[in-house]
Symmetry: C2
Subunit: 169 residues, 2 copies
């Protein structure tokens, strides 16, 4: 059974990672196994320069794995970007929920973060195609979906649980 | 078809990563797709502190993926260590060869690096069970298998190609 996927989206620098840092433990506390996917359209360099696996990758290895008794990590070149559905299928089969940071152009249910101190208007307009399921914001805003205060992480976890998780248990 | 797996093994600090850094491009030059696996028995922290995916992992996400158009990386908690065969099956299906750094207790064909400036005796004795297929060293040493000079990376690539790769093409 594939886990539900919820995308956390926003305009730049609205605090997606910061929100996820609070939301993940809140969902874990409720007993759910949480996976995350970060969408990086600009490329990334995840490994620490100088570490052995980074040196393998730099030397031209196309796929590099580091494996320990507690963790496994894989870095892999891809000929073309792997779609979100394929990622979920490959890596998240045993999770209860997958939260993505980014992927605002993919048609998964989206929760927008809108911080009025960072931007004057939200990413989504009220009349946008209805992938938006909630907005998390520091001010009142009407996007035609439930609005949750940016500091109410419990409320957000509650919303996600009711909407995406309770039918599973 | 599963790629051949060759383990680069040695006593500590004999230059496994340094040798792999030279060997990988030499094999790539010959047209092979190379994957590597590093065995880390002590645990590792592969991601850069402060980066978004590291923050997801720290916050309790069990599986974290970062995906770009060119690369994908996965960091995953495991309940128990994933065996080398399983790793090869999961991640290296499209490689021509997999080189491991470590895994000296696993019964894959092994190439030992012996540097006399680092250790007085090799890891393998001549009478060891015959997983050893070659020794790469800075001095003459008889382990009952071909010996290749530590600076002769082309010779090592040649050996690996003949022994493990040519029957594939």
């Amino acid at each position: 059974m594939k886990p539900p996927v919820v995308s956390i989206v926003s305009k730049k620098n609205s605090g997606k990672t910061t929100l996820l840092e609070k939301l993940i433990p809140e969902l874990k506390k409720r007993g759910y196994r949480v996976g995350t996917v970060k969408h990086d359209t600009h490329g990334f360099d995840i490994d620490i320069p100088g570490k052995d696996t980074w040196r393998h990758k730099q030397a031209g290895a196309e796929t590099v794995v580091i494996s320990s008794p507690w963790k496994i990590s894989v870095i892999q070149d891809v000929a073309e970007e792997i779609g979100l559905d394929e990622i979920v299928e490959r890596y998240f089969g045993d999770m209860d929920i997958v939260l993505t940071e980014g992927y605002k152009r993919i048609g998964k249910p989206q929760i927008e973060i809108f911080r009025s101190t960072a931007h004057s208007t939200p990413l989504h307009a009220k009349e946008d195609p209805r992938t938006l399921v909630a907005v998390v914001s520091d001010i009142e805003v009407d996007l035609g979906v439930p609005r949750i205060d940016i500091n109410d992480v419990q409320g957000l976890a509650e919303f996600i649980e009711q909407r995406f998780l309770q039918k599973r248990s």
